[in-house]
Symmetry: C2
Subunit: 413 residues, 2 copies
């Protein structure tokens, strides 16, 4: 794991070598391959890696000049694409413009908490304005966006960042929702005042009129690496709600839930057309899984997925150990960004930068979800009754796995 | 879809252009990137694409010279790798050598069926010998390996290739199993004589003493593109058996079952350590899904996956339509090979050729499965009782999805 311990990591473009001689990582796989391969080869590689072929292009979208100016002025990556879908005879297209924001923290984690919160509101303002001014209909922020991802420390003081679902961060976003007629998904650390100040990892769904439509609490909690999240909150008790908004049926699979195919499945069974996966995850631990799991979920469940990961390295005041025998240190490692969209037809957009803040926008015709269900028939052929029965038996103490042993197993070879 | 209609497709190495001026496809993504990128960049790209990093290398294995000679003489791709795992203090390593064979048909589909079957036995003999001589412990062949993948035709005459599980192909393989002390997984079209000559798509599990350990019948049947397989057989009735062999617990997820996360899950719940996915699938339809689904299954279920796809284009005597409005034609398109192994730590081997017959071998320490369960805790955090309940409700006619509608949904914007 990359350890910077307070020093800024030197990041070079296109995978060139940093000052200390190590490879410090390219900005995005897509850009790297595009720069390194001939156009013909890049097209072939894209066909497999991004699922782009035969007219199924993910086309870049032109954004208004003021939005580009915001991106330059505030130095965030800005990319926009459009997924294709067939025209239907009996339904008009249902094109929705969706946005994802990834960002690093705004201040050092040693700054007063009130300053940290103010600074992150201030930092996000031009990015949310850029989304709104681009006509984004549904915007999702990253996991626990109001705070540093402090769970590695196991220190309880970070609980102070928790807020009720109608707290300050929600109020901050409600104004943007009203101004831009935009649905906003806001993943925060929630304080459940009506249930004894319990904490949850929660996504608040703010409607395009600024109203709170509802909330979803993270279903699956990691106990891996520095992700000591079960120290702070428990498994969610809100099921797998799908929120019917002005722009389609959306759901939120928070962070570690992306490793659980059943969690993805449940949002699909409840009718989701877009599932967001706001995350916070670091390089060595999960980066090879990142391009796999969201795309698999989009394919298997015939919906769109928007994946978000924060960026940068967050250094904490007190060093901590990681349960791996290595010396104490003060950071989690590098959050590698790489936010992207996946579509049910196995295509996906290029990812945002691995190092920079960014806003990713994509147009998607939600009709594509049903088109893929009709084409591949995954729902029709799923035999859910077989699995309902299996899981019902599995959760019982006396479950016996279906194992057929070779009767000659202990015969000498 | 690539249509060759009887003509041999011209295949160029490294994605260069074929005689007719189109890009006809590179041989393997791994080889293409290795040839096109600097070693440093290739290492970084491999870290993400193949999950290789920080000592988690997939190392090439040296094979005996006579095996290499077989590969040259009979012109099949031969690759061998080793996955790494940690050494444990209380268990010795459980290293198993596993093989996958991909191949094109041996004769034209117009040849007499008896000749076709003899020819495929003859073609596979040096490849199975190469596996056995390499010390492979468990070998899996491709789906319906005894016959052309004729289901596109919807003609019933191809049913003649079906055999009982102790039929000629099993007898053919039992000799190799005994000779090489090797478990062999043999996916065939099965004729169930004791149940009214019913056909199934079945994997026969042959033990290392040549005994038949059992069978598994394909659980999920496609109705997509030219894959008119429900014309020939029905959904399997054998559940999700795991076969306890001399070399570990194995299972078989046949072809289209790879699109169903629940199918993968069920083999995992029953204790599989290696799940084979013998397949037959063509370029435009599924190639972007191919690198995604098997790796996701390996990650999510903490087991190894061996993915096999046949190669080449099979041209049938009578033209057929594909239900897509296009003119009749006589082939399925190109089976793109690309067989590979995926590991529970998100690493995977390079793939075999997209065009040539091949034998892929990999050493894997089955201890890695439990190591990943302990590290990531996916089983522990899975909350199966939630999903047992959801699926039990879902399969009922009166299931109501969990939808929270914005009460302002129909207010004017």
């Amino acid at each position: 794991m990359e350890r910077t311990d307070g020093e800024e990591t030197v990041v070079a473009e296109n995978g060139t070598t940093s000052k200390d001689g190590s490879i410090c990582g390219f900005d995005s796989l897509h850009r790297l391959l595009q720069a390194s391969l001939t156009p013909q080869l890049f097209q072939e590689v894209s066909r497999i890696l991004l699922g782009l072929n035969c007219g199924k292009e993910v086309e870049p979208i032109a954004l208004p000049q003021p939005v580009k100016a915001l991106s330059s002025e505030h130095d965030f990556d800005l990319q926009a694409f459009s997924f294709s879908a067939d025209r239907e005879s009996l339904r008009g297209p249902r094109i929705v413009r969706v946005g994802l924001i990834q960002n690093s923290v705004a201040l050092l984690t040693t700054a007063p908490f009130l300053d940290q919160r103010r600074a992150i509101f201030q930092k996000l303002t031009p990015m949310i304005d850029a989304a709104g001014s681009s006509g984004v209909n549904v915007l999702c922020l990253q996991e626990a966006w109001t705070m540093p991802f402090a769970f590695c420390t196991r220190e309880k003081k970070w609980c102070e960042f928790a807020e009720p679902i109608d707290g300050e961060s929600t109020q901050f976003l409600q104004e943007f929702a009203r101004k831009y007629n935009m649905v906003i998904v806001s993943p925060i650390l929630e304080r459940d005042v009506n249930h004894g100040e319990t904490l949850w990892n929660t996504a608040v769904i703010i409607g395009n009129h600024g109203n709170i439509i509802g909330k979803h609490r993270k279903n699956h909690i990691p106990r891996v690496g520095d992700f000591n999240e079960s120290t702070y909150y428990m498994e969610g008790n809100t099921g797998h709600p799908v929120f019917e908004t002005a722009y389609g049926k959306i759901a939120v699979n928070i962070c570690y839930g992306r490793h659980h195919p059943l969690n993805w499945l449940a949002f699909g069974l409840n009718g989701a057309e877009i599932v967001f996966n706001p995350s916070a995850t670091v390089g060595e631990l999960s980066e090879p899984m990142w391009p796999i799991e969201a795309r698999n979920a989009a394919i298997a469940n015939s919906y769109f997925v928007g994946s978000i990961n924060r960026v940068g390295t967050e250094v904490f005041p007190n060093p901590f150990t990681s349960g791996d025998g290595n010396p104490q240190h003060a950071d989690f490692g590098h959050f590698y960004g790489s936010s992207h969209f996946s579509a049910p037809d196995a295509s996906c957009t290029p990812s945002l930068s691995r190092h920079k803040d960014g806003l990713l926008i994509s147009d998607m015709d939600l009709n594509l979800c049903r088109q893929l269900k009709d084409k591949w028939g995954f729902r029709m052929t799923a035999r859910y009754e077989v699995y309902a029965d299996l899981l019902t038996r599995y959760v019982k103490q006396d479950f016996e796995p279906q194992v057929i042993s070779d009767p000659l197993l202990h015969k000498n070879a």
